[in-house]
Symmetry: C2
């Protein structure tokens, strides 16, 4: 695959994916977006997922802010209806938390004891404030960011999970990863903002690096990086590691830090790709155990769309950072597998969940964990890199 051909392929894919969501997900009565959509876009459940609302606001705002093709009143309007839904309904009445599940009208159904809905509330509103210039979105984002930093770095007791004496202190990869991503999104490369959050950036990068021992990126380690016992300590999630890899590469590029770039590529991109591949049926596993025990998660061997999205971004970013052709070769291989297995050329968007052997296991396009986010984010980021590469080779 050459770069110019790849640009066309990814651009076409992005348009088809975004059209799926703009055509089928908008709730014109209550604002916000329907998340549960069948293969052909029918709403099969009217519940709304707080984190998917935040993700779609981010996605639309990002498209508006970065691609002239999407810099339209329609996309901005669609982003704003989600932003209003976030502020009016997803944000809890006291303003301290975000609901995970809500009815279509915005009545809360479930609050998680995890901080991830809040992460997407922050990045959605931050990007929307850049699109609209409206400060109230920015203020809500930065205020929730302060809580996120407190929960992730210092004390998460406000999240409501009891701290029982049998639980060894544990760093979950998702927390420093998401904090790094949220900080990157909030600052958007602006040096004043980066200065303000400098120490938190540094903490997040160091906390992520502690999850790698050079060979494995473990999902759970002790706060000092040492090994935890049992399944928890042995669990690896290749897609998560690859996503952390490109978060670190973004940060390395902003800093011009080649040592961080090299660690990100070796430990968080090359290593998890090597151990995460299914050599028999292709694609990347969802969960594995470092010592070869069978993971207890029933879906361990399934092939998930987002894992492959992260792998695409990670290898293309590694290629742009280094110019090393082997990363382009791997990117091309993953992209071929991913587009051929997940993308639905008939109705648009991608299937999310395949069996180990690559059969479609879930026909829906949107569900509680799959919204307008990983696919278009991957396609947008790949397109931006490919266009830069294309320009440089002209």
């Amino acid at each position: 695959m050459d770069i110019c051909e790849c640009v066309k392929r990814i651009k076409k894919e992005l348009d088809s994916v975004v059209s799926f969501w703009t055509a089928h997900s908008h709730d014109k009565v209550n604002g916000g977006y329907y998340n549960c959509l069948t293969e052909d876009g029918k709403v099969y459940d009217s519940l709304k997922y707080g984190w998917l609302q935040g993700r779609q606001v981010w996605m639309y705002s990002k498209l508006y802010n970065t691609l002239s093709h999407y810099h339209t009143p329609e996309i901005l309007g669609a982003a704003k209806t989600g932003g209003e839904f976030l502020l009016k309904h997803v944000l809890s009445s006291g303003g301290s938390r975000c609901y995970f599940i809500l009815t279509e009208e915005g009545k809360p159904c479930k609050l998680q004891r995890k901080p991830y809905t809040e992460c997407f509330f922050v990045i959605g509103l931050a990007e929307l404030s850049r699109a609209t210039g409206e400060e109230r979105y920015w203020l809500a984002a930065e205020s929730m960011l302060a809580s996120l930093i407190h929960w992730i770095r210092f004390d998460d007791s406000e999240l409501g999970a009891p701290n029982l004496p049998g639980c060894d202190p544990c760093s979950e990869l998702g927390r420093p990863m998401m904090l790094l991503n949220v900080l990157t999104e909030i600052c958007n490369g602006q040096s004043e903002l980066r200065d303000k959050y400098k120490e938190h950036f540094q903490w997040a990068v160091e906390a992520i690096l502690k999850h790698s021992d050079g060979n494995w990126v473990r999902e759970h380690v002790a706060p000092n990086g040492s090994l935890l016992s049992g399944c928890r300590g042995r669990q690896v999630t290749p897609g998560h590691a690859l996503e952390a890899g490109w978060f670190l590469l973004q940060e390395a590029a902003t800093r011009g830090d080649t040592a961080l770039q090299s660690k990100a590529i070796k430990q968080f991109i090359e290593a998890p790709y090597a151990y995460g591949q299914d050599k028999e049926f292709g694609g990347l596993y969802y969960f594995l155990d470092t010592d070869g025990y069978c993971p207890t998660q029933l879906e361990w061997s399934m092939k998930l769309w987002w894992v492959h999205c992260e792998a695409m971004i990670a290898f293309l970013m590694a290629y742009e950072a280094t110019g090393d052709k082997q990363f382009w070769t791997t990117f091309s291989k993953i992209t071929d597998y991913t587009l051929s297995k997940f993308s639905d050329q008939t109705h648009g968007e991608w299937y999310g969940y395949l069996t180990r052997t690559g059969e479609i296991n879930q026909t829906f396009k949107g569900g509680p964990y799959k919204g307008c986010f990983h696919v278009p984010r991957c396609l947008l980021y790949c397109l931006q890199i490919l266009e830069r590469l294309d320009k440089n080779t002209d």
Copy 2:
């Protein structure tokens, strides 16, 4: 398959399964049982699951109390070490709840916002009190039963899940089902005890029946039995329905209630078996949607051991209750599929999780949701019925 041949097959299987747990699961240092065991019995994680501790205490005590072959000091001793672990560690310090996950030494790691660990605490200790004659086990069981009745029938706010305004009131099939099973186990057919809990038996039976509209046994309905919207209202779980079916059949037999027997068989055994079968690859699905949408649970099409255990008991019990040969034919068909696909003739015990096509997806024999319970319970109950049938045909 004739009955006499079937008795031999099931007896041999039961002995092989029980041997697996007695050989590999006992924690001789801390008491209680290791739950996470590989294919060949190695402990791959030392965490202990409260509900699996209670289930194993029940299983050992039941075997001791009902089969002369297992009426041994070894089985009683093994049941007692689990019973002590329940009282010392699984029961929370205030005595009001049971921990879901503990370290091997008994330090608590996780408390669920569901009442199921408590259900197995009650039936484990009740059966152990019958085995040992020790009243303290009985008192602990009846005291926790009072809490269970309160949570399941009247007010579950003590379980800690917030009641948010977007959640329509909902009956979860698992709750009345487990209450009926716990009451059945506590009373063990004794009329004095049945009188004491009579009204709760009646409530549980009626609440279960509300989950069937004649065609489908829905996992979630409104408290009056009416339909709930969305995926929640459309979810059916054939294994759960079949298990409820034989719980109802047990109750119908105790009462001599032929109307209840007929409802149990038609609505909770024949119907879910009809819609639950995978006509392409054999076996029973885990989750389905009444309107044919794709379930959002990633494991919806997988074949789980316990689902097939419940189907075996349900059809054999229906055959004993009615003498209708078609139930024997279905029982034989399910038993052939189940033993050929799940049972491990090399190391003993059964695999728990197969892909839709019947490949082993998880090699372990014990994990967070699979312990010494569904397989030996199924084999014991089937053996007891088969021996009665065998005697009657002599």
